[in-house]
Symmetry: C2
């Protein structure tokens, strides 16, 4: 018998923590089923839900590579594990799709092998999987997807990640428009340099957001949730961004910004009603301009990836 | 009978929070004595300890201007208050000397008038006083000197300042070398732009520092206490900076960087022994190179300015 693991989507950056902050959603997410097989190493038996776009070669697939990394670390070269990957969320959405697959792949193998590694120890392998997607070593999606909650990546190379407490009742609404933005384009649009004055503002807001989360101070969270660096550049790629952001604020969202590299946007909300209203409003604005989208309502998932 | 107020020195920036973070020292600091007099408005009767350098005209003196602002806000135009300012710390040291005077001036008048304002409400007036010194609106010295503790200035214009909890037992050693650096030169040396990669590292460290302070995690504080933006530029103005920083780390300091705009340096220490050793080591290195200095050991003052 095999093991199935679900790893959830995540929202990276959170407006003021570019490449640093991320939060874990309840869903959507990806599932990976792992079972022993006779062929040594990792085999990807099937991928569903990707429209045939993802590679079956394990070393080129984020779930496959993460799974390989776990198996290699255990060191039993004759063990064979077969994976069935079920993509249940869109890729290129800015919701950490490649990360969810990497996390599910690593954790499914770890569970199948009777947990040689703790969840935190899996972080390294999930990052190795994620690296397949764009060549970079980023933890701001894999860390929240794996560990849950809101996570600060203090230093990716040394796997120094820190959980930040989350006030009760917060809800997130993520809206994914049916337009495509490649992560590399979304990165390429960013200037290499930032004005010192904007750095000061961003730092003050990052500090304010963290203090607000610790102190359960929703007003402070709201005042702090303003991106002076990334959003002014990336919003150009997202149609009608400022119109829908303004609407979300009017409806009571504590913050509204771009999820990861986009094109999804998210509203950070004090409760389910506000999140619901933001979802309706944002999708209506896009619909009015002929853009279809999917709305995802979620709490901040405190658990992260889990066996199902 | 009049009122005497002592306002302590402060350390701004704390390596990773340029123009944002500051902490309050036990001492040194400035004293202002306020008493009623017949001449309406603020009169500066005397200034001691400044070597005759500070102006006696209230509007041009940080203590005088802050005191004026309090009096104006109360609105009784016939009230006259005379101030005696006792500078008990060097100016141009990077320890918030002009701020200490502004804080002491504002609070002394407020006490004399039977506290029309809360301590927090005085913040605005202290910033107006501080503004006399260099024309800018900065709270990262006045806020900690007034309120105590470690303070994050989320937004200076709206007086949005946040206190961060401080682990017990931390000690700070500030060493002031007898060299002069003008704040305007120390600001002019800074580039207007920052590499995005350095912004990410600084943000991660600022987040790590705040989380470390909340969680009482001295290891995390230490890992986070590294300035990727300001120190690499300003250290040029401070002789032998990297030699003494390296020595402080070897002795167990959690962090060591430039205090405010310099030339003072500070070591952020887990206990009094380490702070003591850092003071001896740093002053010895400077002495070896012919630079005399004063060493100040301090806890992190939780109270800030106070009546004496």
């Amino acid at each position: 018998m095999g093991v199935s693991v679900f790893a959830p989507a995540s929202v990276a950056n959170l407006a003021v923590g570019y490449d640093t902050l991320g939060l874990c959603l309840d869903g959507p997410g990806d599932e990976v089923y792992a079972e022993f097989c006779d062929t040594p190493g990792i085999t990807i038996a099937s991928i569903e839900g990707d429209g045939g776009k993802l590679p079956l070669i394990p070393a080129k697939n984020t779930a496959g590579r993460a799974a390989q990394a776990v198996l290699e670390a255990v060191g039993n070269v004759r063990t064979g594990v077969s994976l069935k990957i079920h993509k249940k969320m869109p890729f290129g959405s800015g919701m950490g799709s490649s990360s969810a697959s990497a996390v599910a792949g690593a954790m499914a193998v770890n569970e199948l092998l009777d947990r040689p590694f703790s969840k935190y120890e899996l972080l390294k392998f999930t990052a190795m999987g994620e690296q397949v997607a764009d060549g970079a070593w980023h933890l701001d999606n894999v860390a929240p997807s794996l560990l849950g909650g809101i996570v600060l990546v203090r230093d990716g190379l040394t796997l120094d990640v820190q959980s930040i407490p989350v006030p009760d009742g917060l809800r997130v609404c993520v809206v994914h428009p049916d337009i495509e933005i490649l992560t590399k384009d979304s990165r390429a649009i960013l200037s290499d340099s930032v004005l010192l004055g904007d750095v000061i503002k961003q730092q003050s807001n990052l500090g304010g957001l963290i203090i607000g989360l610790y102190n359960n101070d929703l007003e402070l969270i709201s005042r702090s949730f303003k991106d002076h660096i990334i959003e002014p550049q990336r919003s150009k790629l997202i149609p009608h961004f400022y119109e829908l952001q303004s609407e979300a604020f009017d409806l009571g969202a504590l913050g509204c910004s771009i999820s990861g590299a986009g094109p999804s946007v998210f509203a950070f909300c004090p409760n389910a009603d506000v999140a619901e209203n933001c979802g309706v409003a944002i999708s209506s604005i896009w619909a009015k301009h002929g853009i279809t989208c999917q709305v995802h309502q979620s709490g901040i998932n405190p658990v992260g990836a889990k066996v199902i």
